[in-house]
């Protein structure tokens, strides 16, 4: 009998931030092929090497096939196959015991995923009155901190890049060619329309190779470059005053003494405490910023009642005076002439699209770097003034039980385990991400923190670094084996702005179960009610009817016919307290970071630590993996077989290292051994290994043994602290010549 072939549309769900549609071919229940799926707008049909390689995860010989329980010590690798019945009974019993002993907040679920149903874990945590780890701080939360302060919007790239026809594309420390290849099509189109493309990066990346101009820069100094460019713009009077008056906090008066904005209630009895004030040059007095006929001043100093105050733009101008191009050149390594020329381009070749990606925000002060670039774009009138909203949060907020859980940023997990701050985490459930592989300071995690936990559950596809430390390992499903709702990717340049169904393509293999199924059966044992009994489709329907406007009229039935574009929601341009672009942030006054400024990297090559560890260590993202996913797939490892330490010939020669030698990278936190790749595409003083390799791929240690988990206080105030993964010093030594 001829096998019947069926085509099922689903969504690539590996965590790169895109959501490419996939058309899966199924023969007799077996996934045989995938290809890019259509969208109503054909420009979104897209796939990459990683997307195609996801098929190899499904039938991978090393997939976890049934539940396991640990024998021997954690991490020893001795396991016993158990039934789902035993696994679930054990988990239910242990969670109840630990909850009773240490309080329900001691139970933490830490799970990732782009699907709406991935948040079932948060519902579950809420129903247990437990905690749920927020995973943005795995390396992606500093930029969002900067954007939240600037725009009131976590993922605000749209303001900086969504121009119809940019005259100039400036890519700040980002490598979209490899990391978010979907997005590069826009830059390509701009180039083919005549736009120049400039790449600022300490590495000559595949993106830099496409650029009209490559500007090498010292790592962690992008913010200084933007400040130096602002110095040039303001010095030459090339800023855009009407844009600054209309769309930024520039004219708002700031109290010299407190650093806080002067509210109408401060100057007029009966005035509003929510209204900001400006100096009205027509009336010669301070008035509410929205008073009719007001002509606000951007500069000068004023006395209003007994308050001495200045417009925040005046404060910006004063702060930026501290960054003349010559000084910035000394900080960044970018020639002063280049700084001046690029600054003039920003002011004179508008609109300029500023792509920031996630690279430059993985330094300790990444939030400040984003704020500096945002401010440069704002004062030169290079902001795209269409508000957008990542409405995932509204959708999630409507989820059953979710209000019962407490969110803990992932970097706060360290102190939660070690010091009980903010909660004494004692049980940890890890799913849909490889925590031990991807968290900074791996030795601290595996040697000091995990041993303090009473119980660890990991649900995954493979016996990865995280699963190796579990007490119970559960076999999970690939996205081909479960249905989900994929929300529109807003804020990711070029990514599809569609609701899509991730349709189940094949039945779960072996004894594997989708995560919501696992939770359903556990909920029964823990007496958590009927909600978890709902099918995937029922939950999706519930979420879609949460009442959020952008989802109005969208149903599972409609989505089954194909992707549905998110409605342009009627939202304000900016979501800041002032409703404007805020380069001046009141809530950072206490740290002296109310204005963008430049601070040296935490582990600066100009600090005393550099005497011991002189090289900046990067762990950049590659086209051959998505984080730690796909590191075990032959179709990709044929192309990129092992981790290599990229090092410039200058640094290699100084250490008698030749291409292919085995080297050791080390600092006080740990070490890793791997092969050296000596090449010219990386700045002297910087070394790199692409992130996501598993410990077994290294000769010894791994890249996260070198990174640190130090928390930036400004990021804690704004939103969520980030792992400063590119703000790390190391030394390299030769181990042997191979």
């Amino acid at each position: 009998m001829k096998p019947t072939e069926e085509l099922v549309r689903t969504v690539c769900h590996t965590g790169c931030g895109m959501a490419c549609g996939l058309l899966a071919h199924v023969k007799d229940g077996v996934l045989t092929k995938i290809e890019p799926a259509d969208f109503p707008d054909p420009r979104y049909r897209h796939i990459c090497a990683r997307g195609l390689a996801t098929m190899k995860l499904v039938y991978h010989p090393e997939r976890l096939k049934y539940p396991l329980k640990r024998l021997g010590e954690r991490g020893e690798g001795k396991w016993q196959r158990i039934s789902w019945e035993e696994a679930l009974e054990t988990i239910a019993t242990r969670l109840k015991e630990i909850g009773q002993q240490h309080g329900s907040r001691s139970l933490m679920w830490a799970t990732s995923g782009m699907g709406a149903l991935d948040m079932t874990y948060a519902s579950f945590a809420g129903c247990c009155e437990g905690t749920f780890a927020s995973l943005v701080g795995f390396g992606d939360s500093a930029g969002p901190c900067g954007d939240l302060a600037s725009f009131g919007n976590l993922w605000a790239e749209g303001y900086l890049v969504n121009f119809e026809k940019p005259a100039l594309c400036v890519i700040w420390g980002s490598n979209p060619v490899e990391t978010q290849p979907f997005g590069i099509r826009r830059i390509r189109d701009a180039r083919e329309n005549g736009a120049r493309m400039v790449v600022i990066d300490p590495r000559f990346t595949a993106t830099a190779a496409k650029a009209d101009e490559y500007i090498p820069i010292r790592t962690g100094t992008d913010g200084a470059l933007a400040l130096g460019m602002m110095h040039v713009v303001l010095g030459k009077g090339l800023h855009d005053p009407s844009f600054i008056k209309d769309y930024t906090v520039g004219p708002f008066l700031v109290n010299n003494r407190t650093g806080l904005y002067v509210r109408e209630s401060d100057v007029v009895s009966g005035g509003s405490s929510e209204k900001y004030t400006v100096w009205d040059t027509a009336a010669g007095e301070a008035r509410a910023h929205d008073a009719p006929g007001v002509i606000p001043a951007l500069t000068g100093g004023y006395r209003v009642g007994n308050i001495d105050c200045r417009p925040s733009f005046e404060l910006l101008v004063e702060a930026v005076r501290g960054y003349p191009p010559e000084k910035v050149s000394e900080i960044t390594g970018v020639p002063a002439a280049t700084i001046k020329r690029l600054a003039l381009d920003y002011a004179q070749h508008r609109p300029v699209a500023s792509y920031r990606g996630m690279g430059m925000q993985r330094t300790f002060h990444g939030d400040l770097a984003f704020r500096a670039v945002n401010t440069l774009a704002a004062i030169t009138g290079n902001l795209h003034l269409v508000g957008s909203r990542l409405f995932v949060y509204e959708t999630y907020a409507s989820l059953y039980g979710i209000r019962g859980c407490k969110f803990v940023p992932i970097l706060n997990l360290y102190n939660a385990i070690a010091k009980g701050d903010p909660y004494p985490i004692k049980a940890l459930w890890v799913a849909k991400h490889n925590m031990v592989n991807q968290l900074p300071n791996a030795n601290l995690i595996t040697r000091e923190l995990l041993p303090q936990l009473d119980f660890i559950v990991v649900a995954d596809l493979f016996m990865n670094a995280s699963a190796q430390y579990a007490d119970i390992v559960l076999p999970a499903c690939t996205f081909f084996e479960q249905s989900d709702l994929i929300l529109p990717c807003i804020g990711v340049p070029g990514a599809p702005n569609y609701f899509q169904l991730q349709n189940k393509v094949i039945e779960p293999l072996y004894e594997c179960k989708p995560d919501p199924e696992i939770l359903k059966e556990l909920a029964r044992r823990m007496g958590l009610g009927d909600y978890f009994e709902k099918s995937a489709e029922q939950v999706i329907e519930l979420m879609l009817s949460s009442g959020y406007a952008a989802e109005a009229g969208i149903t599972v039935e409609r989505l089954k016919k194909g992707p549905v574009q998110a409605k342009a929601s009627n939202v304000p341009i900016f979501f800041t307290p002032s409703g404007r672009m805020e380069f001046y942030s009141e809530k950072l006054v206490e740290l002296g970071q109310q204005l963008p400024c430049y601070l040296e990297p935490l582990e600066s090559v100009r600090s005393p630590l550099a005497n011991k560890y002189p090289l900046t260590f990067l762990t950049t993202h590659t086209r051959y993996r998505t984080h730690s996913t796909l590191a075990n797939v032959g179709w990709l490892t044929e192309l990129d077989p092992e981790p290599v330490l990229e090092i410039n010939p200058v640094d290699a020669k100084a250490r008698d290292i030749q291409d292919g030698d085995i080297v050791c990278a080390f600092n006080d936190r740990g070490k890793m051994k791997l092969k050296a790749r000596v090449h010219q595409g990386i700045s002297p003083g910087v070394v790199n290994v692409t992130q996501g390799w598993w410990p077994e791929h290294f000769l010894e240690g791994n890249h996260q043994d070198l990174t640190h988990s130090v928390i930036n206080p400004a990021q804690e105030i704004i939103y969520e602290p980030n792992s400063a993964l590119y703000d790390v010093l190391v030394e390299i030594e030769k181990v042997r010549r191979d």
């Binding site: 000559f204 032959g634 179709w635 990129d640 291409d659």
Partner: protein, 192 residues
């Protein structure tokens, strides 16, 4: 005039993403090799540039069977396993191939591979099975940057022929005399 299927590849658009490489493995169910490789034109390793930091250059060059008009592999085959269709597609008859690998030596582009599992030579067949159904080769369908164009290169009005003319596309090693049916649009010069 007879059809002559081929490809025009825009090296300005190609980013070395390797999607074509993996797409080929998927379409032909391959492990360990692919019918298309993406060379780095730059430094000694994949994804490394030429020059001295920071004055560097790099671009990518996808190389696959060129489906030559005068394929040097064809006469090299002692068992006459290699043949050319009327539309120009060069194929290997797996039944006749004895695994001698003469063709690997004969090809100026190094695009034939030896499948150790089957003891057969293998190469890109321009997805003849798809072409016969009116589809484009799978690598072209999947090309992430829309840098690959498939069609009849003997038809001057075809989209790929027009692109080839406009961008002054070239063939690799024209001196080989093989007359390849794969042409490359060079990377654009940098804008000042």
């Amino acid at each position: 005039m007879a059809k002559r299927y081929g490809l025009v590849i825009d090296l300005d658009r190609c980013t070395g993403c390797q999607t074509c490489n993996v797409a080929c493995k998927m379409e032909h169910n391959l492990d360990g090799f692919s019918g298309i490789r993406v060379d780095t034109v730059g430094g000694p390793h994949r994804d490394t540039p030429a020059g001295e930091y920071p004055n560097l250059s790099m671009y990518y060059l996808p190389v696959l069977c060129m489906h030559c008009s005068q394929p040097p592999c064809l006469p090299s085959c002692p068992t006459e396993a290699i043949y050319q269709r009327k539309d120009g597609i060069v194929l290997i008859d797996e039944e006749k191939c004895n695994g001698c690998q003469e063709c690997l030596e004969a090809c100026p582009y190094g695009v034939l591979v030896y499948d150790t599992q089957k003891n057969k030579a293998w190469k890109c067949n321009l997805c003849a099975h798809r072409v016969d159904e009116g589809l484009e080769p799978f690598c072209v369908l999947c090309c992430e940057t829309e840098a690959m164009f498939f069609g009849d290169i003997s038809d001057p009005s075809a989209q790929l022929s027009q692109l080839a003319r406009k961008r002054k596309a070239y063939a690799l090693q024209p001196e080989s005399g093989a007359e390849p049916a794969v042409r490359y649009c060079p990377p654009r010069p940098r804008l000042r």
